[in-house]
Every structure is written in C-alpha cells, then in structure tokens.
Subunit: 180 residues, 4 copies
Amino acid sequence: MGVMQEEHDDGSWLSESELTFVRSRLPILYVDAVPVRVDEKGVVTNFGLLLRAMPNGSISRAMVSGRVHHKERIRDALLRHIAKDLGADAKPKISAELTPFTLVEYFPSPELTGFFDPRQHAVSMAFIVPIEGECVPNQSMLDFTWITLEDALSSQLQLEMSGGQDKLLRKAMAHLNLMP
Amino acid sequence: MGVMQEEHDDGSWLSESELTFVRSRLPILYVDAVPVRVDEKGVVTNFGLLLRAMPNGSISRAMVSGRVHHKERIRDALLRHIAKDLGADAKPKISAELTPFTLVEYFPSPELTGFFDPRQHAVSMAFIVPIEGECVPNQSMLDFTWITLEDALSSQLQLEMSGGQDKLLRKAMAHLNLMP
Amino acid sequence: MGVMQEEHDDGSWLSESELTFVRSRLPILYVDAVPVRVDEKGVVTNFGLLLRAMPNGSISRAMVSGRVHHKERIRDALLRHIAKDLGADAKPKISAELTPFTLVEYFPSPELTGFFDPRQHAVSMAFIVPIEGECVPNQSMLDFTWITLEDALSSQLQLEMSGGQDKLLRKAMAHLNLMP
Amino acid sequence: MGVMQEEHDDGSWLSESELTFVRSRLPILYVDAVPVRVDEKGVVTNFGLLLRAMPNGSISRAMVSGRVHHKERIRDALLRHIAKDLGADAKPKISAELTPFTLVEYFPSPELTGFFDPRQHAVSMAFIVPIEGECVPNQSMLDFTWITLEDALSSQLQLEMSGGQDKLLRKAMAHLNLMP
C-alpha cells in the first residue's frame, strides 16, 4: 500500500492489471545500487545489504533496486530508490559520471543469465554508490547490515542471497579489485 | 506494415493502441548503434550514417536505433536492428564486453537532455559497432553513407542531424579520442 | 627546488641528469585530475582550473597533473598531487572504482595526439575528482578558479589553454554529458 | 637475445644496467592482452593462455604482456606484443575504443595488490582482445592453448597460474559476465 501511494504521488502509478500487462510485453527499466562505505581515500571498506522478501518468494540479502518511472532521469530514480529503501538521511554520493559498472538482464527463467525475476524481464543499470549518512531501512525490509569484505566473500553469505544477488555482489567486488 | 510484420514474427508485437499506452506510462528500453569502419589496427576511419524520417517529422542523418523486445538479450537486439537497418551482410563486430559508451535519455521535450523523441521517454544503451561487410539500407531509409572524420566534424553535417543525433555523434567521437 | 624537496622526502628523488635520462628512454607514468564541484545530486556544476607555467614555456589554464612514484599506488599518487597543487584542505572524493575516464598520451611533438609535452613521452590516467573542501593553490601556481559550465565552453577559455589541456577539458565534458 | 635484438631495432633498447636502474626508480608502463575467441555474435567462447617462465622463476599460464616503448602509442604496443608472442598471423581485433577493462598494479612484493613482479613496479593497462587468426607462440614460450570457459573456472587451472595471472583471468571473466 505504501508503495502504491508513493507511486501515485509522482504520477507513475500503474494498476495491478496494467503492471501485469506491461510486464508481459516489454522489458522493464530498472536501476540497482550497491551501497558501500569508503574510507578517507575512497577505498571500499563495507557493502550494505538489505534483507528482504524477493519476487520469487525467498528471503534474501539484496541490493537497492527499483523501476525507473516515466519521464524520470536515471540519476533521480537512483536517488529515489535509495531514499525509499535506506531512508532520507543516507546521504548517497552518486558519481558525477553516472557510468553503470554493469548492465543486469533479469529474466523470468533463472538459467538464461543467472539473474532471475519471476515477475518480468527487466534490464537494470547497476551503480556502486558510496553512502555517507545513516541508513534506516524501509519498514518493508527485514534488516540492513554493513558487511566487511571478508564476510562478502564467505560461502555462508552466498547462501543467503538468491535471484543472482550474490553474483551481482561478486561482480561489484571484481570491478573494485576486491576479489582474492 | 513491414515493421509490424517483423515484430509480430518474434512475438513482441504491440498494437498501435498498446504501444501508445506503454509509451504514456513507462520508459522504453532502446539500443543505439554507431556504425564505424576501422583500419587494420582497429582505428576508426569512417562513421556510417542513415538518412531517415525522424519521429519528429524531420529528415535527419541518424544512427541505427530501436526497441529491445520482451525476453530479448541486449546483444540480440543490437544484432537485430543492425540487420534490419543495414542488411544481412553488414557483418557487425559487437564487442565481447558489451559496454555502452553512453546511456542516452530521450525525452518528449527537447530541452531536458538535448535528446528528443516526441513519441516517448526512451533510455538507450549506445554502442560503437565496427561493420566489416556491405551495408544495404532498409527500404524505409532514404540513404546510408560512410562519412570521413573530417566530414563528421563539419558544421554542415551538424545541420543535417536532429533530435540529438549530432550530439550522439560528437559524444562517440570524444569517446574515441577523435575530437580536435 | 620545492619540487625536489618534496620528491626527496618520499625516496623517489631523481637528479636532473637521471630524470633527463629516463625521459629519453621510457614513457613516464602520470595521473591527471579534473577537479569538479558537484551539487547535492552529484551533478557537476563547476570545473577547477589552475593557471600555471607549462613545460613548453607558455602560461595555461591546466588540470592537476603529475608523475606516479616508484612503488606508489595510483590512488595515492592522485591524492598526493591534489594535496600538493590544491592544498591539504581540498577534500577530494576519489571514486571507489578508480576508473580513468580517458588515457592521455602526451608526446614531445604536438601533432601526434594533440597532447604535447616537450620534455617527454608521458602516459596519463585521467580522473574526474569531486572536490568538497577549500582549495589553496600551491605557490608555484599563478591562480586557481572554479569556472562555470558556460565558461568552460567559451572560445576565450580555449585560447587560454595549451598543450592539449583544452582538449582534455572537452573530453571530460563529453564524458559527463555536458557538451551542447 | 632475440628480445634484445627486437628492442634494439626500434630504438628502445636498454642495456641490462640501464633497465636495472629504471626499474629501481620508476613505475614501468605495460600493456596486458587477454586473448579470446568469440562466436559470430561476439560472445567469448575461449581464453588463450601462454605457458611461460615467469619473472619469479615459476612456470605459469599467462596472458600476453609487455613494456610500452619510448614514443610508442598504446595501440601499437599492444599489436607488437601480440605479434611477438602469438605470431604474425594472429589477426587481433583491438577495440576501436581502446578502453582498458582494468589497470593492473604489479609490485615487487606479492601482498600489496596480489599482482607480483619481483623485478619491478609496473602499471599495466589490460585489454580483452579477440583473436581471429592462427596463433604460433614465440619460441621462448612453452605452449599456447585455447581453454574453454569451464576450464577457465577450474581449480586445477588456478593452480597453474602465478603472480596474479589467475586473478587477472577471473577479473576478465567478471567483466565479460562469465562468472557463475
């Protein structure tokens, strides 16, 4: 209900049946944000992970992710989803360059790309976003934690992530030269 | 009619009214390809430009551009649009890395980003694509030409491009270190 | 003299004759930083330009630029040169990703790449660096100014830049989607 | 001996003592090439790995790698090293964009970055290079093989690579979306 309210406010509301229709006909444009803490030199020290119910019904550690609205700039969609999921005081530092570190192709069948969303075909531009403020996760989230690089590499954590979220985290770590 | 036939064949057909509906509610996902000729070292020697009727009613030099279909991989969408616009013998060499050189945000009003499409809000992933074969432009195109780097910089050419196509060409040239 | 002192301190000192020798035999590794101011959304609002004596004897608006030392990390070289040129309170926000927006090949003859350094062949990894603090330029600099995007595009400014610095600024602007 | 001859010919020859000197004073600029086979769509199907004696005395599977010469363009250095290591008929397709997929910082101690070269501090721009022709490895190489993606992920292969070459391969695979 909270989500519908939010979407209604900025004019991008889609009824349940309209959303079902567009998901059956078009790829849906998404942004993903990998929240990170950096030290004074700009080196990543922690990854921020939500714990949430996923579209496939599982509970998973997950990145910030959401739809780009009609007539919304990519940068604004990123800021909106970070504020919605991590609170108004997160103070995200979106890169001036706005270059995605990867494009994620989510498909309704898991085997095609390893990125799985049973609801839809979505294409997401994924960004690494340093967070300087305090995060207060949205009520629809079960938890939010800053994990260390060591934890990010643990096999335990991999098991707590589904739908390709573990793969997206490893891809971010490789991009940041943080893979062993 | 040719376009509707083509889209119907792969199951992504949208009726006129359905297309109007989705365009009024969602950003539409596109791919743009900047066709180039390269020498034996891989250095760009020419840009390939179509001459076509644009959504805004003007005639403009333009890149290859088109919608990503439902359940279609980005790479496949690129190959499909290049084959459709430049013919089956174009022999495009899509990069193994599939990294867009820029994201283009087309809006129904020209002043927001300089990229203008009166029909819709579209987000396009733009790629530089070396073409090794012969190009036979689609019948819906008025012309296709390989232009030199010198011509690409001429103010005459800029005037022959609308909707932000000139800006996209300059952005590609800057990315390729071909700006003066 | 100030420079020699600084370089001696961290063990990377090269005598005048040693520097002449290595410049005649090897490409020298550099980092360039394009200082920018960003707004609360991360959008660039200003470029920071030094005014300095150039290797070719001219006076030019210029970016922060300097040599990477022996056994020095790229990130540390960037931070050292920004602190040296813009002062200890500049508070640069080096990207976590440390991806150069371009590689600049400076040659001792101007016509090869448009990037000209009569002293040497240098290869520079160039980064866009948001600056959050106050800049107090080094005494060897004649000035430091934050210019607007409008000024950055003016033909007057282009004339105040030599050795390819104008080209590097335009390349940064194209990368940031700030070209008209 | 062959190498010294080759380097002498293009004027970049350094005597043993000169090379020792520059390695003790400056980071040395390198290029690394990850040879790949691609299918007709441009998707990577195989990685090409040399088997060679490494600077640290080990035998390792390795990428093409070498120094950039004085006054040599980066693209030319890449082409020269590929021709030297893989033969004149390799037909490499260097990207028009010449964007490194990563910067590799090799240090004389292994723990700093995981990239280890006991002889020197080297900074390498690493590129993924599709190879279309036949490879005939240089006589100084023990072997050259095209490995499958499956083999590239095997723990056996990881053990056959030293000095960080395994890490560079994994980084290339992550960049290409080929990690599981």
